[in-house]
């Protein structure tokens, strides 16, 4: 991961103008107000979630620098956080990020077969994105839903008691949904 970051810093800072919408900026202000005077940095994790959701699906150096300027912290403070937590993506991901749990309780209930099946179905390996940019497949550690194993999370939604048939259906539905109007999809951050 750190390699990626060095790569970004040296070559990929495009100096693009990234900005939240006025509406999101209001939300950001409201989140900052949850923390005491002088503790703006506390809002970093929630705001990185918003930035990732709203500004391109992953945290580019331009996006991280922008977040740093909002919170009045050094860019490095944002990079070190973004590289620590697994939910922040430093590289471009697909529209739907499929995260399959690989930890013990899911594994003994067939979780490994689910990963293999998805990998064969989408013709991508762990960590890769389909050429059409629709799906990224990742294996992740325990999702905290062991009683409903095997489980996976696609963006914000959990899918439980997975079988091959269920996966076929979910993937097909998402492919259809991707063809519909994007603006109809509700954003998680509005509920937060």
């Amino acid at each position: 991961m750190s390699e990626n970051l060095i790569h970004h810093r040296l070559f990929d800072k495009k100096g693009l103008e990234v900005r939240f919408s006025a509406e999101t900026l209001e939300k950001v202000k409201q989140i900052i107000s949850r923390y005491p005077e002088g503790q703006k940095k506390s809002a970093l994790l929630p705001i990185l979630h918003i930035a990732q959701e709203e500004l391109g699906g992953h945290l580019s150096v331009d996006v991280m620098d922008y977040v740093a300027s909002i919170l009045e912290v050094q860019p490095i403070e944002v990079y070190e956080v973004a590289t620590f937590y697994t939910q922040y993506y430093l590289d471009k991901v697909g529209k739907y990020v499929i995260e399959v749990c690989r930890t013990g309780p899911c594994a003994i209930c067939g979780g490994e077969d689910i990963t293999d099946y998805l990998s064969a179905k989408l013709k991508i390996n762990d960590g890769e994105t389909t050429p059409d940019g629709l799906f990224t497949l990742r294996t992740v550690e325990c999702l905290g839903a062991c009683g409903y194993a095997p489980v996976m999370q696609i963006n914000t939604e959990f899918h439980e008691f997975l079988t091959k048939e269920k996966i076929d259906k979910i993937v097909e539905e998402l492919q259809q949904k991707a063809n519909l109007d994007k603006s109809k999809e509700s954003k998680w951050v509005e509920k937060f």
Binding site: L45, F84, C109, D113, C142, G144
Partner: protein, 452 residues
């Protein structure tokens, strides 16, 4: 039928809303605490109840509260630990999703007892649905005068905010959680000073688990003495057990502490037995971090007594023949599961989740993962088994936070109780290499019991 005091109302339609929760006796405890009790009276009830931290450590909650520095002027904080990430545990998610107002009521009463005016609920980032539900419930509580300024006409003010994590098991450790709340990497702090003296923003802070804080509501409703009558000895009250693995009815169950493991596993009221009638091989009774026990030792202690689900009974025999209640993540393995593969899987988890601060944990978890991978895939030697024991020993107790111990215990206990399976892997590399995944693999290889 065991007594239920946390989940008794969970099936009422619409209990997720303020109105239905309130109409079913909700917020009575908060009203009573704020209007008729002083903060120290609330703390006394919690002390009397014998409630112990439900996140895993089992530390007496009342005592933790009494350590809070109340003399230094300035703010104090309560932080609710909802970063549920221990493999095998999914009870807090269940509570937040099904009955969010119970947690909010618990937060109000507890914050009042601690004289905290700001409370943060740190929810793991993956639980976005639950964050949405909880945030909505908090807005309802504000709208109905249970949060904000001058709650219920008293002089008490309280704000509750939900804070989203971003995927890091280590943030469940309380000081790592505080670092994360401050917008940093989740690196556990050196203790002392403990959070009760120097916590969030350097201020006195209490960090409690979701289930612990929810349990404060029935404690105030029934009184601490009455609560202490449920359970056995120092294991008072009820506990949510997250049951998963190879069982017929996985899910979250509220039990009275003190029922036997046998009852919990086999009764149709709870797990309903091992799936498809297979034989039980092993159980991890308290989340992936606690020692794994083989069927014989989980049902009966080494002394031959029935093993009960209590802090004491599960720990009976120490690490030689016992385990721990931990967070109540009850993972069941049937006879076809491979202990070596499972141990490798858990170790990979700890290696991935180690924050990297302490060398024994950062390096040791990686070494163990490599060695286990080697054994599991048919390239191990007998020496490797002893090497694992030696690495585990060198991690345990030598790190800032308990993640090191949590990584060492599953390995040490698996080798202690299932050494024959590790030896089988070493001695039969060709067989091991030719099968792929559990659960089918052990059937094809050999039931490891034969390798004894």
């Amino acid at each position: 039928m065991g007594r239920k005091i946390l989940t008794d109302k969970i099936d009422i339609p619409g209990i997720i809303t303020f109105e239905v929760y309130k109409n079913n006796g909700g917020y009575d405890a908060a009203t009573r605490a704020l209007k008729q009790m002083t903060p120290s009276e609330v703390t006394d009830e919690v002390k009397k109840s014998g409630l112990r931290g439900r996140g895993g450590a089992g530390f007496p909650t009342g005592m933790k509260w009494s350590f809070l520095d109340r003399n230094t002027p300035g703010p104090r904080y309560l932080v609710c630990n909802a970063d549920e990430s221990e493999p095998g545990t999914f009870k807090d998610r269940y509570l937040m999703e099904k009955i969010p107002h119970l947690l909010i009521e618990g937060l109000i009463i507890s914050s009042y007892a601690l004289d905290a005016a700001t409370t943060y609920v740190y929810v793991r980032g993956e639980f976005k649905t639950q964050i949405g539900i909880l945030s909505k419930a908090i807005r309802e509580a504000y709208a109905n005068g249970f949060l904000g300024k001058n709650i219920l006409g008293t002089s008490y003010n309280l704000d509750i905010y939900v804070h989203s994590g971003a995927g890091a098991y280590i943030c469940g450790e309380e000081t790592a959680m505080l670092e994360s709340l401050e917008g940093k990497r989740g690196l556990p702090r050196l203790k002392p000073p403990f959070p009760a003296v120097k916590g969030l923003y350097g201020r006195p802070t209490v960090v409690n688990n979701v289930e612990t804080l929810a349990a404060v509501v029935p404690i105030i409703n029934m009184g601490g003495d009455e609560y202490a009558k449920i359970g056995v000895g120092k294991s008072t009250g009820t506990k949510l057990i997250s049951a998963c693995g190879n069982i017929n009815q996985p899910g979250v169950y509220e039990i009275e502490l003190g029922i036997s493991v046998d009852t919990f596993l086999n009764s149709p009221e709870y797990c309903g037995g091992v799936k498809t009638g297979k034989k039980l091989k092993a159980i991890v009774p308290g989340g992936s971090s606690v020692p794994i026990l083989p069927a014989g030792l989980i049902m009966k202690t080494a002394a031959g007594e029935d093993r009960l689900i209590t802090y004491e009974s599960l720990a009976d025999g120490g690490f030689v023949s016992g385990s721990m209640l931990g967070s109540g993540g009850f993972i069941v393995y049937d006879e076809d599961q491979c202990i070596v593969r499972n141990t490798w899987n858990f170790t990979r988890f700890y290696h991935h989740e180690s924050c990297g601060q302490c060398s024994p944990c950062r390096e040791g978890t990686g070494w163990m993962e490599k060695v286990l991978h080697r054994i599991e895939h048919g390239h191990g030697t007998h020496k490797d088994i002893d090497l694992l024991v030696s690495i585990a020993k060198r991690i345990e107790g030598n790190t800032i936070c308990p993640l090191g111990d949590a990584a060492a215990w599953p390995v040490a206990s698996a080798i202690r109780h299932f050494r024959h399976e590790f030896e089988y892997h070493v001695e039969n590399p060709e067989v091991v290499r030719n099968v792929k995944h559990a659960p089918v693999r052990m059937k094809e290889v050999v039931n490891c019991e034969l390798g004894r």
